[in-house]
Amino acid sequence: MTGPSVDLTQLSRRRAADQIGETVLLVALIAGISLAMWLVLGRTGERIATQMCVNVAAVVALSVFTGNSGIVSFGHSAFMAIGAYTAGLLTMPAGLQKMAVPMLPAFIAGHEMSFALALVAVVVVGLVVAFASGLPISRLQGASATIATLGLLIIVHSVLIGAREITRGSQTFYGVPRVTTFWVALGAAIAFAILARMFRESRWGLELRAVRDNESAAEALGINAQRARLVGWTVSGALAAVAGALYGHMLGAFSPHTFYFGLMFAMVAMLIVGGMATVSGAVVGVVVVTMLQDTVRQFEGGFTVAGVEMPSVFGLTTVALSVAILLVIWLRPEGLLGRRELRLPGFGALFRAFGPRAEPAAPVAVRAVAPLDVDGLSRSFAGLKAVDNATFDVPSARVTGLIGPNGAGKSTLVNLLTGQFRADEGRAHFGETDITALSPHTIAKLGLSRTFQNIRLFGNLTVFENVLVAALPHASGRADARARALREIEALDLGGEAGTYADNLPYGARKRLEIARCLAMEPAMILLDEPAAGMNPEETSDLADRLTALTETRGIGLLLIDHDLEFVNRLSSSIVVINRGAVIARGTPEEIRHNDAVIEAYIGRGRKTDNPQGALA
């Protein structure tokens, strides 16, 4: 079970160095291709590169939300429009402005700002609009969130058309100085790539990616999913507004139509081609699509091959792009880059010196004792009482078993205690705190943690990231979180797999990872929902040893829910038995073994003269 011995102290440093290496590579790619275009193709190349860099900024901004949250947004061209109009109004020469938008309200008129100063205003406006629109959108998940973003695009489009005094309505908004030069665009593309990369690895980015992979698991670890989405949306929206300002100052003239579906679909298409999950995917998508389009464009007007004159075929670029998207979706559904950032093997080693060194944290002191007190909890689903007036308590620093036949309501009870479901009646207290009506992530913050019956890991995060993201909401800082994560990785022998994606782990390692993730929170109590399910006897025994050690060395209280009665009996100091939602017995394992009601619930009436010890052993 033990992985190859690994120097965990180097793990953080190596990881940070790899990330720096990947980012340097990405920046080099953007700069290299842009400069090469300019050098090889001259002014034409310079323009293609300028347009490409502005697109890189826009698509990278989109990927900050879409890539990390997994929610496709159609609303980002709305932010681009807001950025373009805001900056355009501020930078427009005053004389031209009087002619183009004569009815402009005085407070926006006649500023004639520098572009850099206007960008500051754009960031502020972008943050405000994105935050306000994010409040409702962040409450939604998956397709409903996507549809809400579509709604945002339509609303902003209508408002831009309606605000004729400011935007000239559906007419062309012109007179915007064309200041997005090659160097401005290149600088922006590089800055955006670095910012997006930093966001991705930041606490917010990690949390958002955890929520993307499994929202309920993230909530159970103390991550506020709604807030994670709101932060991602706000940052991404503000970046998109800046990208829009760059785009507007590249065009010089635009209308609301410029930022409508056409632009949005082009951006999403580039993101799909490159790969949604990574920043390099966004960049590579733009680069590949630009090169494809501009290469094909040269042949549209007709050309000569070996003396044979080919006719001009307009629309070839659209055909080529469509074919490229189809091929990517067919052959590489995760995009050209998949889920890994662009990397060169060994390149990260050059940046080792910059990585932080982190030691595993010292074993934790026992947290404040907090017993769990359940008083009369009930919950019905469509008339069926899944949990019926359950009353029991779980002392701290000990193992309590919760058993019951299939369908007895064990998992529902766990879900009630951790906030996934709301109780119809009754109360639950964790220490002094009434947790009955709290949200999962608030309960987790109190130190009450849980695992899931079917393992819920963050599949696209590495083992280290899985544990790190659990530690972050509870740690005093990033260094503390890193140290905690290393400690739990060491404790559960996951050092050898620290860089592996959770999806690729074998079953036993997944179970251990789920427990490591729980422990990184430094909880006072863990509700373990069938931790031994699907394990072989050897693995089960190993797990039992680890759990015993936990209660002894760290003083963590455990509520152990399992079918494996031997496993429960061996570990628990007391056992609660429920059947059909109601508690039918409580006591020591010995008492439970001889309890008539329990025997009846498990093996049926009239058979208690058989060997009950055997049945319940």
Binding site: S170, T172, L251
Partner: protein, 384 residues
Amino acid sequence: MTFRTATALTLLASVGLAAPALAEDYKIGVMSAQSGYLTPYDQPSYAGFKYCIDKMNEAGGLAGKYNVVLDVRDTRSDMAESVKVTQEMIDNGAQFIVSSADADPTIAAGQISEPAQIPTMTFAGTAPVLTQVGEYIFGSYPADNQQGTVLADFATEQGFEKVYILKSPDSAYTMGGPEYFAEVFEANGGTVVGESLYSLNQPDFSAIVTTIKNTDPAPDLIVTWAWEPDFPAFIKALRGAGLDTQVMGGDVLDTPTVRGLGDVVAGTYHTSGGFPEEGTPYGDFMKEYEAATGTEPDNNYYVNGCDIAHMIEQAVEAAGTTDPASVRDALANIEDGEGIMSNFTFKGTDRMPLRPVVIAKINADGSKDFVSRGTADPDKLPNP
């Protein structure tokens, strides 16, 4: 031989080889969307333009001596692409630019060609605002305010007094046309009794039709600049509700598909840039073009594209040179220039040409009748 001298020699050689042709060449950059929303206007415009330029080249070139070299580039109806191709065309030495058939790309192109002092003309953009970008930007088609004025005068002459306006804020055309109409119609003594807004591609007009039905006083005329598929959806809903109010519309109704709607559109009046009457230059152009290419030029964009070639030729001829600034001045001073769709006057305008506007009437059998031809009174023309 150093790299630099080699380059210089190569350049010299290429210039030398090209020199005999260069002396007489006139390079025109053409933005033409071959996909996207501008395709239905840019493609026929370009086809007509190229047809007439080719004819002129065969006859010895513009004004008999300047061989036209076309640098045509697809914009895919995309703004960023439009900007890029405009820059490329100017880099490649374009002396004149013909831009896409809409205000957005024309203004974007104009912001680049204006400082470069390259005269730029839109294929068929009709928003009068587009020439505000600068002195080098020209329209070619009768502008929205001219069409609105001529239609309003016609409506007043016909005795209509109460108009209901149906417009869409989604485009400058669908919004501007009816507003220009209303302005002149009210100045003529008529009243606007009601107004509704619709969205482009709105599938259902029954709510608007109900509003029109309940308008008091009842309108005797409905004016809209709606195009397809909105206009067919609206007129079917209107006639389906039993309302037989007279409807008038903009030049977008001048298509075979609208005329093919049958009874519901019978009697509808619309404006148009021209009418191919038998025996007129336009009528002859129809036959000649169809005979030469096998395509029936069934909308005005073909002939207007050809007229752009004539406008450029007359400007170059009057300037006596291909120098862009001189060509611009000559173009801006054309008075009653001879065109095939209609004659054109730039002198005294803000470079949106003053051209006659035709009123046509649609028949139930899918044909159209010529009703009248008029030129907008410059004093009445609403400001853009």
